[in-house]
Symmetry: C2
Subunit: 470 residues, 2 copies
């Protein structure tokens, strides 16, 4: 029986999280306050996320581009709510090339302002619409309480920015991204069931007329915003004069959207699926889906058999590694593969080989199955599918168990201490939301009873999800 | 006969370059001085470059990671030559979150300093070596004379950083990257013949003991540094205390390398292959390798036949597009596909269809071949290979024609006005190099007569390549 090398979740969840980051070599603090270093193990997971999200963004018709890191301060000031929201978080460059700059430059906290300027240049007629852009970039927001992946001064993300001829086209596209890119990715790749809803006015992106969100529920019952999609109405098109001439030759303002997902998703992945033994990666995402471990070997025969399994799995397209480091204790290696969250482990020792069997271990449930050595490759492939499904189902069960239906604000405040309270929005209201904030609770999103999104801030039937959040 | 829409190269090469950037919608200036916006067409080329370079870097055993954008000023000051070289180019953040910072932060101009700090933490024993890291990132260097892709205040790049137990291992790895990643990519993907050599002490990277370079020769005879690989000796390991305990238990300093390639390669691609009709992309790189153009169509039959060709090419793995925009004039569309550098164009009109033929056009030579409609798919695939080979050969012939062997400094100065002068390094020397600099000429690199790299700064047999450079 392996001993956990991490602080147990039940004892101290934040410390468990920090332990996983350190011991699985995912990331550590950077030298400047609030920054992070993403180590190769963590970055490989981010690359896998990027590939999946990027493919979905391209399938939705958006094209990648790149806009500058440094934005003149006056650009921010053009949209009043936007500058008010982001001013307190800006990092400002005042000197360049050894001289003080005539105008200071902000490091982008998000790129609506600079992209708005170029959309205005590029959009001329209705034929240029919709203009669907995305960029993968780093952004900087001065964080008061930084925590690796969850809130860092610098983080990596993709930010989509689109311009449309009509309100309805913009609305539809923002929802297409929300569901077709984010929710689909989170569900089918990260195996995360999210609560998809509309943000309240208080929680809306600075400058948006509507923010929609995918909220994940972590194993400690707290919520984490995984991705957001914003309708910006005509605010930015007015501020930056993003206009087009219609088929009738009339000049009209565009309707814009923006939407983003970031390295914060790595934090969500860790805290949604991880357990006392470390990271648990869903097979669809895992950079290494299976490892074939040589338990012991005296004459090379076990290693040869293990290599043959690795070759066969590779041929079938499984991302697999061989662990033939028999000089290190098996228990130590098993603990390490657990820590790193590799979904499937095939264990092979001399006795197994003599019996023509192998052990197939699944990381999510920590179950071992003895299987014929000639069947182990099939078993790994079936396990990969099963684990993906089971992880989503287990996470869904945890999420549902974390949600408590409440009828009053007091009940909601109580339930949200350890989980998510679902309470009619008319019971909460703007005053109740302010009141909850004094207890460190936020309305994560609003949803109608059928799971769909309210179209307005005060839909009578809306339910509020109230929780502590990262 | 199409008319060029660009300033001819022979008339004004820099203006031709600017015209290509604008008219092919590759990139434009950002709002802050010296920054750039990379538009979707340009960014798709960069993504193709990234995929090819990243694959080669991973094949060389390096792993991707991510280090912070913001670096405390004191980190730079630890390596004397490094700080001296980069200080004049730094962009400095003095304010964050609405307050003046206690210590100013530099935006990374390169990451040796911050990565050195972490290598020191992560390397403990000889078993941790070599440590092979790479990151894809943006960097900022204050440029006095910015020019899109060639010299921009912010640019995108990859920077590799490695630590080794021995000088010889570091030397070998720096060369493996130079040849196996950069030269191979430039040759086999970008179809660019480069001059591979050693930089003189004057041109060396600030902090390196040896800088090796791949120098491209542009169509105007100027040189462009495409990628560099540096041996850093023990300078950074001394400055950051990157040490390991050897098999004998003795504490030793590591030997480090760094190496990079950037969006500047986009500039090199444009200026090495481009002509008066626009961009010319090698098929191995081109995001769109072939376009099937419906010249005219009255009853849909031509479009159906063109679509069938597109489907067949897609099935064979060719990156292909259909242009069925028959409302736009064919000449205008042809000009536009030329501008964008798509390697192969299949043209199909009603008369071709009646004859069961199609025209296959190759962008590099602008030749058209009539071919049977049932053979056109094979023809496109063969053309792709042929164009790739021919573009490399044509660029090699241009490069070789641009090089003049010179025996004296005066001859070299003369020859380098319009091309590359090759002159014995002992004729130039440190004094001659200073003298050439007053005429705007630089020694691009040193090479031995067999094409190999000198091991020292003053190898008696070394030849200097002297040129104007971007």
């Amino acid at each position: 029986m392996q001993k956990p090398v991490l602080t147990p979740q039940s004892e101290d969840f934040p410390r468990w999280y920090q332990d996983v980051l350190t011991k699985a070599k995912l990331a550590e603090n950077g030298p400047a306050r609030g920054t992070m270093v993403i180590r190769p193990t963590g970055y490989a997971i981010w690359e896998a996320m990027q590939a999946e999200v990027d493919g979905r963004i391209k399938a939705a018709g958006a094209q990648n581009a790149y806009f500058p890191l440094l934005i003149p301060m006056n650009f921010f000031e053009r949209e009043a709510e936007h500058v008010e929201g982001f001013s307190p978080e800006l990092a400002v460059v005042t000197h360049g090339g050894g001289k003080e700059l005539a105008e200071s430059l902000a490091i982008r906290p998000t790129s609506e302002a600079v992209i708005g300027e170029y959309m205005a240049k590029w959009v001329d007629s209705y034929r240029d619409l919709p203009l669907l852009l995305n960029q993968w970039a780093n952004v900087v927001r001065w964080e008061l309480r930084p925590r690796i992946f969850l809130r860092t001064t610098e983080f990596l993300w993709q930010e989509g920015h689109t311009a449309h001829a009509t309100d309805s086209d913009a609305r539809q596209y923002a929802r297409r991204i929300l569901h077709g890119v984010y929710q689909d990715f989170l569900r089918n790749v990260l195996a995360m069931p999210v609560i998809v809803g509309r943000k309240t006015a208080k929680e809306r992106f600075a400058g948006a007329v509507n923010t929609m969100t995918c909220e994940g529920v972590m194993r400690d019952g707290k919520a984490l915003q995984m991705a957001t999609s914003h309708e910006l109405g005509q605010r930015f098109s007015r501020a930056f004069n993003i206009s087009y001439s219609s088929a009738k030759g009339i000049t009209e303002l565009c309707w814009t959207t923006s939407w983003g997902s970031s390295t914060r998703m790595l934090g969500g992945l860790i805290m949604c699926h991880g357990d006392d033994y470390g990271l648990v990666l869903p097979p669809a995402l895992a950079p290494v889906q299976a490892v074939v471990v040589v338990v012991k070997d005296s004459d090379g025969s076990v290693t040869r058999a293990a290599s043959a399994i690795v070759d066969e799995l590779t041929q079938r397209g499984v991302r697999v590694r061989l662990d033939d480091d028999v000089d290190a204790a098996f228990g130590w290696r098993a603990t390490d593969w657990d820590l790193r969250g590799v979904p499937i482990r095939v264990e092979l020792g001399p006795r197994d080989l003599a019996e023509n069997t192998a052990l197939a271990y699944r990381r999510d449930t920590r179950e071992k199955t003895k299987t014929g050595i000639d069947k182990v490759v099939d078993e790994v492939q079936q396990l990969a599918d099963r684990i993906q499904t089971d992880m989503f189902e287990a996470a869904t069960a945890r999420r549902d168990a974390a949600i408590t239906d409440c009828a009053t604000l007091d009940q909601a405040r109580e339930a949200a201490q350890t989980g998510v309270a679902r309470v009619p929005w008319e019971v909460v209201g703007i005053a109740g939301e302010q009141d909850l904030a004094t207890s460190g609770l936020t309305v994560r999103c609003l949803q109608l009873s059928d799971g769909s999104l309210p179209d307005t801030d005060d839909d009578a039937g809306a339910l509020a999800y109230v929780a502590r959040a990262y």
